[in-house]
């Protein structure tokens, strides 16, 4: 780029990141603009030798001029004249509503891979003329047989065009019977003859023209007809790839040699340790000898522990530790290890039966513990559901409903009707309001009408429950406390409205069940007291909680 206007300022390098002002040509002096041209040699990306082609040059010149872009002449395509397009492309295409997903290959979409030629056609027509009409060979079947022959030939003699192998008819017939129906057998021989004749005409090459693939990479490199070479083959020929291979092999060899050397080094060290060990053992023995003599001389009585090695207990751990680390000098640890190899191990051995027995003991113990725990937890809980869990033991008496006879008109709910066997008849039970817990097991209601019935049972944590059913809950006087509460719940002391309602309708029951009967604080207290309490709960839909006010 040359500096303009004769000035010798250097042109700054064009930075792709640098924002440039954008002007129209009329925003700059025209002769100035002209003088600025020709600063760049434009890369076209076209092969250099073709850039000069006159049609391209004309077209490129046209791009910059007002003229219509000149077109580059090219041999045109034209609609085929003597060609019945609709007959050959007969199937109609239905555009699917969604985008097409398709993965079948061409081979899968074209049926039989052999397409008969004009020559085949002539043969087949003549052949069929000789046959009776009902044994005519159709074009499709003819192609199938030919395809089978071609395939077999390709498999049996892939180099037929070179070595001129002829596949005998027997081979062909065998593979034909494997590939196709037996009905084709009657044509096999005739078609084979035709196939063979055609093969011979084409120098025993496959009958369908095929692309030329590489045969000898060195030889056909320059053959323009050889195409679609495999890239893999090239790779193996490449020296760089081979270099990598050799390097890898060398590296592996080196590694293996290193390992061997290390092994030998370690073995030699082990032998040295052994020697040291022996020396130390001998030394210890001599020292002990002296100790013994000294003991005898000084007449010291005592055990002879210091005359033998006495580390059998810790032996194993130490042994492993030291061997693994290989840090500690051998002499000290070797002694126990020697001994350990022999006797103590023998003694320690357990029989399989012993181990099994011990394991079983542990398991049994555990089971017993679990059972105890469960019993404790379930203490006083009586499972009266229709199908109680199996390990219910020691209960069942008095758990059924009993009908109440005389006492059902009591002011207070007849809680202790069934309590002749009760352990904890509590006088304060009436103060206890039913908890929010609702008992809703699906009871059969057949015989529960009319006759009121009750049962008492213990729940978890020793809570006492009274279930009732068959209550003819008519004009029952509410309990004092409850009635009080409701009395003062009125907005005015005018006469209270009377509501007609069915106390046993499920909607009413459901509604009532939502009415809080206790202040939350009190209920928490109750829960925390852990005292086995008696509470009545609506055992079934027809069970009426005592605490609920009857309609006045």
């Amino acid at each position: 780029m040359r500096p303009q206007m004769g000035r010798t300022t250097r042109v700054k390098k064009l930075q792709p990141r640098a924002p440039q002002p954008i002007l129209r040509q009329d925003q700059i002096e025209s002769d100035e603009y002209d003088s600025l041209q020709g600063q760049y040699k434009v890369e076209t990306g076209v092969e250099k030798s073709e850039e000069s082609e006159i049609h391209l040059q004309a077209a490129l010149a046209g791009t910059g001029s007002d003229k219509e872009t000149e077109e580059i002449p090219a041999p045109p395509a034209q609609e085929s004249s003597d060609f019945d397009y609709d007959a050959l492309y007969s199937s109609v295409y239905e555009k699917p509503a969604t985008y097409i997903r398709f993965s079948q290959t061409v081979e899968e979409c074209t049926g039989c891979q052999y397409d008969m030629t004009t020559e085949d056609d002539t043969f087949l027509k003549a052949y069929n003329q000789k046959k009776s009409p009902n044994s005519h060979l159709s074009e499709d079947d003819f192609e199938r047989i030919m395809e089978s022959y071609e395939d077999t030939a390709q498999i049996q003699a892939p180099f037929a065009s070179v070595d001129q192998t002829q596949i005998p008819f027997d081979t062909m017939r065998n593979s034909l019977s494997k590939q196709l129906d037996s009905k084709y057998q009657m044509y096999a021989k005739d078609i084979y003859d035709h196939w063979k004749a055609r093969r011979q005409d084409t120098a025993n090459r496959p009958l369908q023209p095929s692309l030329k693939f590489e045969t000898q990479p060195d030889h056909d490199d320059g053959d323009p007809y050889v195409c679609f070479r495999r890239r893999e083959i090239r790779q193996t020929r490449k020296t760089r790839a081979r270099d990598v291979q050799s390097t890898d092999k060398l590296r592996k060899l080196r590694k293996e040699l290193d390992i061997g050397r290390e092994l030998i080094r370690m073995t030699s060290q082990r032998e040295e340790y052994k020697r040291d060990l022996l020396a130390t053992e001998k030394h210890i023995f001599e020292q002990r000898q002296k100790v013994k003599e000294a003991k005898n001389r000084l007449n010291i009585k005592g055990d002879d522990d210091d005359l033998i090695n006495q580390v059998p207990r810790k032996r194993k751990a130490m042994d492993f530790n030291n061997q693994a680390r290989g840090q500690q000098p051998a002499p000290h640890l070797r002694i126990p290890s020697h001994r350990s190899d022999g006797r103590p191990l023998d003694a320690d051995l357990e029989t399989l039966a012993e181990v099994m027995a011990r394991k079983e003991n542990i398991i049994n113990k555990e089971l017993e513990e679990k059972v105890m725990k469960h019993r404790q937890w379930n203490d006083k809980h009586i499972d009266v559901t229709r199908e109680p869990l199996p390990p219910v033991h020691g209960i069942g008496n008095g758990s059924a409903f009993r009908s109440a006879t005389a006492q059902y008109q009591l002011l207070t709910p007849p809680s202790s009707v069934a309590s002749d066997s009760s352990d904890h008849p509590s006088p304060s039970k009436m103060d206890i309001d039913p908890p929010a817990f609702r008992f809703s097991s699906p009871l059969d209601e057949e015989e529960t009408q009319a006759q009121p019935a009750y049962r008492r049972r213990f729940g978890r944590l020793g809570r006492l429950w009274i279930d009732r059913r068959g209550m003819t809950a008519v004009n029952k006087e509410p309990h004092e406390i409850e009635s009080d509460r409701w009395k003062y719940d009125q907005d005015d002391d005018e006469e209270q409205p009377v509501y007609e309602m069915d106390p046993y309708s499920t909607t009413a029951l459901r509604f009532r069940s939502t009415i809080p009967l206790l202040s939350p604080a009190r209920r928490v207290q109750q829960a925390e007291s852990q005292r086995p309490g008696i509470s009545s709960s609506p055992a079934a839909a027809r069970t009426v909680s005592v605490s609920q006010p009857a309609p006045t």
Binding site: T63, F83, V92, V106, D115, P209, D223, Y225, R229
Partner: protein, 507 residues
């Protein structure tokens, strides 16, 4: 000889080419003659000769014309009153590569070979006699070779061509087949060979889809293709099975892209083929076009067929390696017959160079209808979703360059006008981010449009009046005739993720 070499460096050639009058019989492959094209004589290189019932025909490549305009011309169009430049074939010189005068020449030779592989330089010709090393035009030889068919006699063999070439008599008579076999594999010019190896290596590791054209046959091998409703006239060589070069017309099924030389086979195939859309997942659909994503590894045959088809219209495409490392984004238009392939672009699963397009093509019957723009836009929309800046792989073809230039220009001008109205500044990087273009592409486009100027000590972008006017005009036009655009909200696509094993390009 190519123009490039002739116009500049070629004139400095120490060995001027032999010129002289030729006759129909002496005119040989490699000669440069004046041939009538579009009503005026043009320099043309003879690439092949064949005998037809109506007489001898010459396959000519015209100076400064794209190869797609190469054609077979009858003798009548060749001007025999003018001198013909012979392919210079000279005595071998020992140690020519070390000789000082040739050191400069070698670049010329290389250039020649890279472009058109014309044996007009001393090196090239010397190479011929240099211990039986192959000709630089062996590409051509190769393509001529597959003629041992029923009409094999119609075409002259290379041996005959050589005999007819003045000066060729000095050469050892060489086995044509052997030359062809060795072909490009052993180029005399070591530099050339090296660059070729580099190229193959690049193909291998980079998964490039383009290749130097010197490696591929220069002569169109398929004359006519029946595809869908259309007859296509291929532009370039494509490595379909060699048997098809003898067919007058090749039939291609428009859905599975299989190819047939025999009409009966093709009819039979059409009876059996059930495909009605590209065999992949639809990732975009509006009322005009659909896009399908196809994995080259999964749909190997279909993608190969697609590559073969597109190679007929893409000069710089290579089919040297397989399609595994690519994804193909195929644009189709719908009608009652199915989703018809309109165009596609391929994209590397992992591009080391940040390319978002490897090859891009609109089939000829759909060209000049704005489809290319949709393809380009779609490729950038995918880049936006990926959060990357993308660029098409180079080299671009002439048509590719024009399409991309147009797309880039439109979008850049649109954005820059907004900035201009708001009187705001804008950096190249922010332009690149907005369009998912690489900064290099933005820079080059701005420079090509003469928008990047250095003025009063500062880089500025200037919108030329012409571009503004054209932009306004196209805006006006869009009111009546709205341009088709890709609606990014209709794209249902997540950038595919490939595990190491699915990324291995081998089988």
């Amino acid at each position: 000889m190519t123009t490039g070499a002739l116009n500049d460096s070629g004139t400095g050639s120490p060995a001027p080419k032999q010129k002289g009058r030729a006759t129909v019989d002496t005119l040989s492959i490699g000669c440069i003659a004046m041939v009538e094209k579009d009503g005026r004589p043009r320099r043309a290189e003879i690439l092949s000769i064949k005998e037809t019932k109506s007489g001898r025909q010459f396959y000519c490549n015209f100076d400064n014309f794209n190869k797609r305009l190469d054609e077979w011309v009858p003798t009548a169009r060749i001007d025999f009153d003018q001198d013909v430049e012979w392919p210079s074939v000279e005595k071998p010189k020992d140690g020519k590569k070390n000789a000082p005068p040739t050191s400069k020449k070698s670049t010329v030779a290389k250039k020649n070979v890279t472009k058109r592989a014309v044996p007009t330089t001393r090196e090239a010709s010397a190479a011929v006699s240099d211990g039986g090393t192959p000709h630089p035009w062996t590409d051509f030889v190769d393509s001529q070779k597959p003629t041992p068919g029923p009409d094999g006699e119609e075409k002259l063999t290379l041996a005959l061509d050589l005999d007819a070439t003045p000066g060729a008599e000095d050469d050892d008579p060489m086995d044509v087949d052997e030359v062809a076999a060795k072909a490009v594999a052993a180029k005399t010019d070591t530099q050339e060979e090296f660059s070729r190896e580099e190229e193959i290596e690049k193909l291998r590791v980079g998964g490039s889809m383009t290749q130097n054209q010197a490696e591929i046959s220069r002569i169109r091998n398929i004359s006519k293709v029946q595809y869908g409703k259309y007859d296509l006239y291929p532009w370039y060589f494509s490595p379909y099975p060699e048997a098809f070069t003898e067919e007058d017309v090749m039939y291609i099924c428009e859905f599975c892209l299989r190819y047939y030389g025999d009409i009966k086979s093709f009819t039979r195939h059409r009876h059996k083929c059930t495909l009605q859309h590209p065999p992949g997942n639809e990732i975009y659909r509006d009322d005009y076009v659909s896009f399908f994503e196809i994995d080259g590894r999964r749909q190997r045959e279909w993608c190969r067929n697609l590559c073969l088809l597109s190679k007929m219209f893409l000069d710089h495409k290579t089919l040297y390696y397989d399609v595994d490392p690519f994804l193909f984004y195929v644009m189709t238009s719908r009608d009652e017959k199915g989703c018809h392939l309109v165009g596609y672009f391929s994209k590397e699963k992992e591009s080391a160079d940040g390319y978002n397009v490897a090859c891009i093509l609109t089939l000829p019957q759909f060209q000049r209808k704005g489809y290319g723009r949709l393809l380009i836009q779609f490729s950038y929309e995918l880049s936006k979703i990926e959060g990357k800046l993308g660029s098409p792989e180079k080299p671009l073809s002439d048509l590719g360059l024009l399409s991309y230039r147009q797309y880039w220009t439109e979008n850049l001008v649109e954005i820059l006008l907004e900035y201009n109205e708001k009187d705001e500044r804008c950096s190249i990087e922010s332009l690149a981010q907005q369009l998912a273009m690489t900064t290099a592409d933005v820079e080059h486009t701005l420079q090509a449009l003469k928008m990047q100027v250095y003025h009063k000590g500062e880089h500025k972008l200037v919108l030329p009046t012409k571009l503004i006017e054209r932009h306004k005009a196209s805006k006006e036009k869009q009111k009546t005739n709205p341009k088709r655009l890709i609606d990014p909200t209709l794209i249902q696509w997540k950038p595919p993720v490939f595990t190491a094993s699915t990324r291995t390009w081998g089988w």
